[in-house]
């Protein structure tokens, strides 16, 4: 490996993702053509829909909040060499935790009720991350498979509970009663108004700063703490970790539990910040998109936040696009997400050899 030429930092972290992303959007443009619409006009509508006016920006940030949580859940586990596909199930269980806390403690003072709901989300999501972590560490079961299976188990649990147990009495839609207002996360439009920032009636709420705080904490955990250093050693090489006296099992269980808790906290934004009740299927695929977010963001918290903004803009802009272009529906966003994962994740090395060759040719001869 000594002969391996490394790309300059900016080419590795900016140029390469940019090239991959461009290709993903190019193919998306072809799909738009296939649908019989004009891709250029679609991009304009999408950008306007995502950033064109205050309310749009609010919605973009609202969706980005979901993606920060689920993206961090994937990125963090990745540092231990684990692939966490279980964000969807962990988020669902997090929603259950939020709902139970809100139903039990919703009458308390907000300063007590809201932290309890946050704990509820992190606790149940954390349990759903702990299980595959423990199974991986102690029994050697691969997290890819166990987290997929646990997603389905979580879906069964949620369906059962929402249809039979915590459903609002006297109705057939699988959702709980609306929570007491004490436990609602404060929305930000009221807070930002005096500062001259208008975000309309968008549901952007306190979960957004909480998500940013989580990203910061993840950065500190992985790069500033001894715990994080050991974690990265485990991710690089388990034998090396063992040799250095680090227990891979402990770190695997810990990191999966924290990852689960992060995914679970996505529910704060959706359930506690916007819908104010638990609705079946509120996770809406955000857990899976977290994979794309983590890949795009190179598993770095800052990258995750930026990628989450990109996906938030896609989500919000895509919704506006579907509204304005009759031949395009919301599923088009899912196509773009899939293409981004394909080109930015699975095919991330496609341009690398070419780029490396280019850089070698243009680089001055070292003296």
């Amino acid at each position: 490996m000594a002969a391996r030429r490394r790309l300059p930092f900016w080419a590795d972290y900016l140029l390469l993702p940019f090239l991959n992303l461009s290709l993903a959007f190019l193919v998306s443009g072809l799909v738009v053509l296939l649908l019989g619409e004009n891709p250029i006009a679609a991009v304009k509508l999408l950008l306007y829909g995502a950033f064109g006016f205050g309310e749009a920006v609010g919605y973009t940030l609202f969706y980005a909040t979901n993606f920060i949580f689920t993206g961090l859940a994937v990125a963090l586990a990745f540092h231990a060499g684990l692939f966490n596909i279980g964000g969807e199930g962990q988020a669902a269980l997090g929603g259950l935790g939020v709902a139970l806390a809100a139903l039990w403690f919703g009458h308390l003072h907000p300063l007590l009720a809201i932290p309890l709901a946050v704990v509820g989300a992190a606790l149940l999501g954390g349990i759903w991350g702990f299980i595959p972590g423990w199974l991986q560490a102690r029994r050697g079961s691969h997290t890819v498979i166990t987290t997929i299976m646990l997603n389905f188990v979580a879906a069964s649990i949620m369906t059962y509970l929402l249809v039979n147990v915590i459903i609002k009495p006297g109705q057939s839609a699988p959702e709980t009663v609306t929570f007491a207002e004490n436990v609602w996360l404060p929305q930000l439009h009221g807070l930002l108004q005096p500062l001259g920032i208008a975000i309309g009636r968008s549901p952007l709420n306190l979960a957004f700063p909480i998500a940013l705080l989580c990203a910061l904490l993840v950065w500190i955990y992985v790069w500033k703490l001894r715990l994080g250093y050991e974690l990265r050693v485990v991710g690089r090489s388990e034998p090396a970790a063992l040799y250095a006296g680090i227990s891979p099992a402990t770190h695997i269980v810990l990191v999966m539990t924290i990852a689960g808790a992060l995914a679970g906290m996505m529910a704060l934004n959706e359930v506690l910040g916007a819908q104010h009740r638990l609705v079946l299927g509120f996770t809406g695929g955000y857990g899976f998109v977290g994979i794309a977010v983590a890949l795009m963001g190179r598993n770095h918290p800052l990258g995750v936040v930026l990628a989450a903004l990109l996906f938030g803009a896609l989500y919000q802009g895509g919704a506006e696009l579907a509204f304005d272009m009759p031949r395009i529906n919301r599923d088009m966003i899912v196509v773009i997400q899939g293409l981004v994962i394909l080109f930015a994740g699975a095919l991330e090395h496609m341009f690398r050899p070419t780029l490396e060759a280019l850089f070698v040719r243009t680089r001055p001869v070292p003296v």
Binding site: L35, L135, M149, S156, D331, I341
Partner: protein, 324 residues
Amino acid sequence: MNDLFLQVLLLADSTLRLATPLVLAALAGLFSERSGVVNIALEGKMLGGAFAAAAAAQLTGSAFAGLFAAIGFAVFLALVHGFASITNRGDQVVSGMALNIMVAGLGPTLADAWFGQAGRIPVTAEGARFRPLTLPFAEEIREVPVIGPIYAELLSGHNILVYLALLAVPLVAWVLYRSRFGLRLRAVGESPEAVDTAGISVAWMRYRALIVAGVLTGIAGAYLSVAQNASFLRDMTAGKGYLALAALIFGKWRPLPALLACLLFAFADAVQARLQGVEVPLVGTIPTEAIQAIPYLLTILLLAGFVGRAVAPKAIGQPYVKER
């Protein structure tokens, strides 16, 4: 007593119907995973097949056109999977996930634009569906005790894809254990270096495995949209690809045990459909969700080594780099 016998037969009958897509997808997974490529894209390839089958069958009015379109599209997806994970040595799980997500969006998007039915494609054209086949003499021997009803109710009256799936199992077992291709396939999943040393291309072996998997998932998809049902619906695979993957692991990556696992999971599904709201003695009503979760829980327990031990092909998940 006779009534109970008929009930059991009907249960077995619906088990067979529900197991068909699982069997085809599990065999597809078998080929690719035995060659060393993790295939969580079974779900997406099957869904893509279902979409292509419904669209082509509805436009041409031919079920076989639908079948071939499904196979073609699923093989195309398999080639994309191969290009990413074999040629470019990308992560097999990530590329599989990407395909799943992309197809989940692409189907309804194209269906909406082309057929304008809110993301679904109804298959209503004459001859666009695979019809049940009545096996010879089914009606004549129906009155024969025991054998008659088994033949007429359980074995006869399925569409051709069900029989195809059942025939595929011994065929795959033969290819895997008795043919040169199968030997090399198993070798490439266990020790690609050895295969490479023998002068056989690891990449080409894995591509071929993925192509076969594409064909099988395509058939499974066509079964869903133009045989079992008469339309393509958003997310109509509903986790069947993952369930097939679970069955494959449960069957320890071998054809016959995988078939049995598929039948077991399908049986659980069939029972679940019948038990809805029924009081079971001693237990009361069993929540259908509990039965639905059983296959997934069983797979987790198996992977954890609590019920037997599943050992994956050794080289699974690792891109092969020549001359490392």
